[in-house]
Amino acid sequence: MNTARLAFRMLSRDWRAGELRVLMAALLLAVASVGTVGFFADRVKGALTRQANLLLGADVLISGDRPLPSAFGEAAAARGLRVSAGLKFNSMVQRAASASSAPSSDTPALAVLGDVKAVSGEYPLRGAITLVVPGRPEGMPARAIPASGEAWPDARLAQRLGVATNDRIVVGDATLRVTAIVQQEPEVASGLLAIAPRLIINLADVPATHLLQPGNRATYRLYVAEGSHGTALDPYLRWMQGEMKAGQRLENVRDLRPEVRQTLDRAEQFLGLAALVAVVLAAVAVALAASRYLRRHLDTAAMLRCLGASERRVLGLFVLQFATLGVISSAVGIVLALAGQQLLVTLLASVSSTMSPAELAPPTWLPGMTAFATGVLLLFGFALPPLVALAGAPPLRVLRRDLPHPRAGGWLAYALGAGVIAALIGWQAQDVKAAGIMVGGIGGLLIAAALSAWLLIALLKWLPQRGVTWRFGLANLRRRPLASSLQIGALALGFMALLLLTVVRGDLMRNWRASLPPDAPNQFVMNILPDQVEGVRAALKALSRTEVTLYPMIRGRLVAVNDATLNTAKFTELRSRRLAEREFNLSWASELASTNHITEGAWWGAHPGPDAGLSMEQGIAESLHVKLGDKLTWDIAGSQVSARITSLRKVDWDSFRPNFFTLFPPGVLDGMPQTYLGAVRVPETAGQGASLTALVQQYPNVLAIDVGEVIRQVQSIMDQVARAVEFVFLFTLAGGLLVLQAAVAATQDERQFDAAILRTLGASRAQLTSAQLAEFVVLGSVAGLLAAGGATITGYLLADRVFQIPYAVNSAVWLYGLLGGAVCVTVAGWLGTRATLRQPPLAIIRQLG
């Protein structure tokens, strides 16, 4: 019979005899949990990004200072993407002389510089324009865009012009009828740059304005968003990358708002962490199950050799069985994962308004592939070296049962297994640092487990030997030093994963959300002239009842790095090129804000010298490929300023305080054209915009920008992530418990055999039970303590290095670890061996002997 057929037959016999249950369960668990978390995280990430895209009105915004090639839109439409063209320009907007509305109590200006946004088709592709409706503070989403001949001013513009619905306004040569007032629109993303009051008109009316003369500064836009299904956006973006010319930009909400970018990044990291923990648990489960399977099949291998099968053939038989088992289990696991993630989505939808299953894109195949590969890789990573050893099982074993087990490839086996886990973690994390911390944590934990098992065993010798139960129970640990340390290691890993997911995750999450306090500023006030600073500050203080810091801001363009003219074309990364082409907001400061942390170099002190240089945000420095010590030259209103980078900073963007990529020491930028800006929290009431109206009226050049919507979106993303991670946690918790069960079951056979022998020798059930309990209590406590240490260190490193949020060590982890470890292991162990104490000893000896 050929080896494949025999292998398949052996596998089906094993299956029927129940020999595969533990291994199959571990594999199913591994693939199902990795798959579930993967599918779920993938879909949630997509939904979070789309939620953030509400701020932009699209998934990406392509803009240029000349008309965009029609191919851009056509190519997008051809890929099934939704597109909408638009145009933005500044123009004086006037109230038509024939305006018939009742005059406002204020004296409205007859002409106001407005930011005219001409839109078409389905705009906005994400989110909605909210219109003012008297008596409804939350407003009402618009169903379409203004029809041709209509105009929608925002509340600010309407107030300044003193117009209401049905009034007429004039833009260039066109006269339009006001049919609605805009309360909120998805343009927040370009935030600080959108400074003038806004007028939304239909793109078809633009020619009639005759404003698009050569030389005027219009921005041509193309909004692009994914359709209800499919992921055509990425290929389109790749295609666009090759098509873009100078003066054209492609931006998404992450590029435009660093706080949203940071929030989304962290959200993904949290979901990734959950997936990582799932991989670790899966690996432990598979490793334990594979080793048990191999121990139980040692006799089969010896018998096959005795019956004349060559070593190669035995290896072939087992490898084929494992391959079949791996493929079948992984496939079934993926089916379970699809069901599992659907369950999670349904659960999440029941508590979240923005995460309904319909909102989430359908699962993609990538997490499924990852889960499948995880199953097969884990199985072979842990089973292959022992398999090789198994194939070489001495046939003499059939005569002499006491022959030692073949060494399962020794350290090589564990090295291969560890390598596979490390690779999987790296693959899952897609974040080298997080993966490194996780792998380091696991490696450290295993070494610590081996050490403490060794210590424990050494210590046990010196303990007073009280009674047969303790002696026998603890002797068990001593008798199998390798097995004991592996068992402690596996249990500790399982507990560590659980502690990471419960206590540490909770702490991280809380700290993350605390970084966006309820009093985060919701209004940015900018364009304040130097001589208005005192007045505005006083007015803001009166409104918010807090001291408000106003920061100077100077616009400048980076023109040279180390005296070499900056050639933006050399940036292969689109984001870098975009950043380099934009005007920077420069500022100066004498003290470092609390939301900034120096990562390299040194901050100038209270009295900066002439060589104080400048300080750059770390991320932008990386994007622009500049480093500490580089000399940067800026063009500020025609004059050039040069300085060396003397420090790099990390910035907590999601603090919602004004932050700057580039900071100078005081004095350097004196005499440059500058304005001031600040952020303030004003009470959120229905007429929120109005509370700054007085200020804006007093200082007509001052702009107040509502970022409340961005904050609400960021907070909402945090909420969604917290919930999503909670559900994933529940799922992974089940996995962790299974791992603990598997770890206890790993030595069950030996335990049962020992117990049967002792029963034969006259030990009572009570004595046996307490002997086993003694062993379990010690095992569980040691594993729990190790897990607490591992979770604390890993949690700290994750918080500090990956999430960059403060982390306070939670001493409760130790208590949970110790108690949880002792109780869980004892209960699981007792449940596992209880039944066997009732069986007649001979049955067990005959079965296992």
């Binding site: 019979m1 050929n2 025999l6 037959r9 016999r13 094993d14 005899a17 129940g18 020999e19 006799d299 089969t300 018998m303 096959l304 050799r305 005795c306 019956l307 004349g308 099968a309 060559s310 070593e311 190669r312 053939r313 001495p394 046939p395 003499l396 059939v398 005569l399 002499r400 049962r401 005959r846 079965q847 002997g849």
Partner: protein, 229 residues
């Protein structure tokens, strides 16, 4: 005299136990002719099982040579010895050594499947009928009594149509009556199939039934008694 099917030439097995080397077998030599039966007898620790392991090529001698059907085992690697076992040898063990995850039928089928025999199931079923277990084919070893398990093991040993049957205390784990039944079965099949039986035992009654008795003491052959049939 026909060529021996199995011969031992100055077989020596030494193991290091503690500090001192321990000689388990000391230059044991004998020939076994095809057909008939030979009992290797001796007290516990006399080296019987070690000798059987060496004769079957399951272990390597420290010195000396085993020739199986004229083939010197020392010149063969583990896989070649395995192939030789598959062709020539059958085994019956004291502790039965049935695979717990396989039914009685599957245990018997295993050697046939390994050698790629056609109709493994039918042939195995036939063998189970011949050992009186035609109704217990789907039972697992743990559902069978000791005597039944050993009968399955005998069926498995004969199913591969071996030239030589190696039996290590085949009745050692069985009570007297059951042991006698199993022994009777083994000798009957041995006669019917012209197999050469090599039996390791300390059971005098069992040894009496063999045509030749080789006595071991302290790793040496101390007696070689032939009964003329």
């Amino acid at each position: 005299m026909p060529d021996p099917i199995l011969s031992a030439e100055a077989l020596t097995k030494t193991v290091v136990s503690g500090d001192a080397p321990l000689t388990i077998l000391d230059a044991v030599s004998f020939d076994i002719e095809a057909g008939g039966s030979i009992a290797i007898v001796g007290a516990s620790g006399s080296g019987k099982t070690t000798l059987l392991g060496l004769l079957a090529g399951l272990d390597r001698p420290t010195a000396g040579e085993v020739r199986l059907a004229g083939q010197a085992l020392s010149g063969l690697d583990e896989d070649a010895r395995a192939a030789l076992r598959q062709r020539l040898l059958g085994f019956v063990f004291q502790s039965f050594q049935l695979l717990p995850a396989l039914t009685a039928l599957e245990n018997v089928m295993l050697p046939l499947e390994l050698s790629g025999a056609a109709n493994a199931a039918a042939s195995a079923r036939e063998w189970l009928v011949r050992v009186g277990l035609g109704r217990r084919t789907t039972h697992y070893p743990k559902q069978l009594s000791g005597g039944e398990q050993q009968r399955v093991a005998i069926a498995r040993a004969f199913a591969g149509a071996p030239s030589l049957l190696m039996a290590d205390e085949p009745t050692g784990n069985l009570d007297g009556a059951t042991g006698a039944e199993v022994a009777e079965l083994m000798f009957r099949l041995n006669r019917e199939h012209g197999t050469t039986l090599v039996l390791v035992t300390h059971d005098a009654a069992l040894a009496e039934r063999c045509s030749r008795r080789l006595s071991l003491a302290d790793g040496r052959v101390v007696g070689d008694h032939r009964v003329e049939a």
